[in-house]
Subunit: 200 residues, 2 copies
């Protein structure tokens, strides 16, 4: 049976779409088991429906985090999901959720972590005046943007960049390395040494 | 009259040597006015003597920092220095020194700042498990490794890297971008906007 990805998103989920296209074209040897959003109106959910993928949402308002996350985990497990990919999922994951999918949750962040964690990473990079930024695929742990790093790609910052132009340039690399990282994980030829993810 | 660089170093000063070779070969249109070390036995000072460059040291032990730095500034100014390049100079500069050479002090750091400031940047990068690190030429202010950034270069981290192999790979880029940044500053076609150094 093929590995089954669960995708968690809160917005348009452009990284989800790039992954989905790689799955459909056979570049990624896996299935998308479920696309979940905490926002019922997330454009990414509409795209999932267009792709004919199983998808759904649970509004998070008023539900305690651990309870909410356990409902999400149940939904994913019911759909046979064994790998979780965050694609613009704007919530912290509870420790219980993280340990349920231990070292099987990936995220992508639009900076060369550990620089510029958190929100508005491209804006942070621009105002800090760096000449190189990029994106990072990493395992998710309970801390923000800080799990072991699988892949990174460097992107130049240009003098006339705006947040929009820089974000667009980084996004091209996000779409490329996220699927590359997923393919690597699914092949299984890696080990984690301390914080380092090493190819075996 | 050509711009005159003052080089401050504490050790072997391999970046000093790369700069000196670019000055001697005419790639950098400036002179080296003085090579200073706080360590009388720094190998970089011996190299400066071999190059026939004006050089000297003041041992820093027991001298209050502001007084020490004002002696260094006097020495540089007496030798007509109007730009200062740090090349492995293991001391913080006093506010007075920084303002005496305001926006005319450069440093190179072996990471993509703001990631991994301070000592042992290559070791920090390795143990953090990043896949990309690099080096940064920046203006020096009173805070550690935090002035406006002129140039950066990205360097891959390999699975089998040691601190030594990674440092050697970064050093190649350090030698390249430090002289490139100096040439840019001496041409004068830049402006500083907030933290951003923009080409004009």
């Amino acid at each position: 049976m093929k590995p089954r990805l669960g995708i968690l998103l809160s917005g348009r989920g452009s990284n989800f779409e790039a992954i989905a296209q790689n799955v459909l074209s056979g570049n990624l040897d896996c299935e998308i088991g479920f696309v979940f959003s905490n926002k019922p109106n997330a454009p990414g959910l509409a795209r999932a429906r267009e792709f004919g993928l199983p998808c759904g949402s649970i509004p998070s308002a008023g539900i305690e985090r651990t309870l909410f996350d356990s409902q999400v985990a149940d939904l994913l497990i019911d759909h046979g999901v064994n790998w979780v990919c965050l694609a613009g999922y704007m919530r912290f994951l509870s420790g219980q959720f993280v340990s349920q999918f231990s070292n099987r949750i990936l995220n992508i962040h639009p900076s060369l972590l550990p620089a510029f964690p958190g929100l508005d990473a491209q804006y942070q990079a621009l105002t800090h005046g760096v000449k190189i930024t990029g994106c990072t695929v990493h395992f998710v742990n309970e801390d923000l943007d800080s799990g072991p790093i699988l892949l990174q790609s460097a992107v130049p910052v240009l003098d006339n960049d705006t947040v929009e132009s820089l974000s667009a340039r980084i996004l091209v690399e996000e779409h490329r390395i996220y699927s590359e990282a997923i393919a690597w994980m699914l092949r299984g030829n890696y080990r984690i040494e301390g914080r380092r993810v090493i190819q075996t």
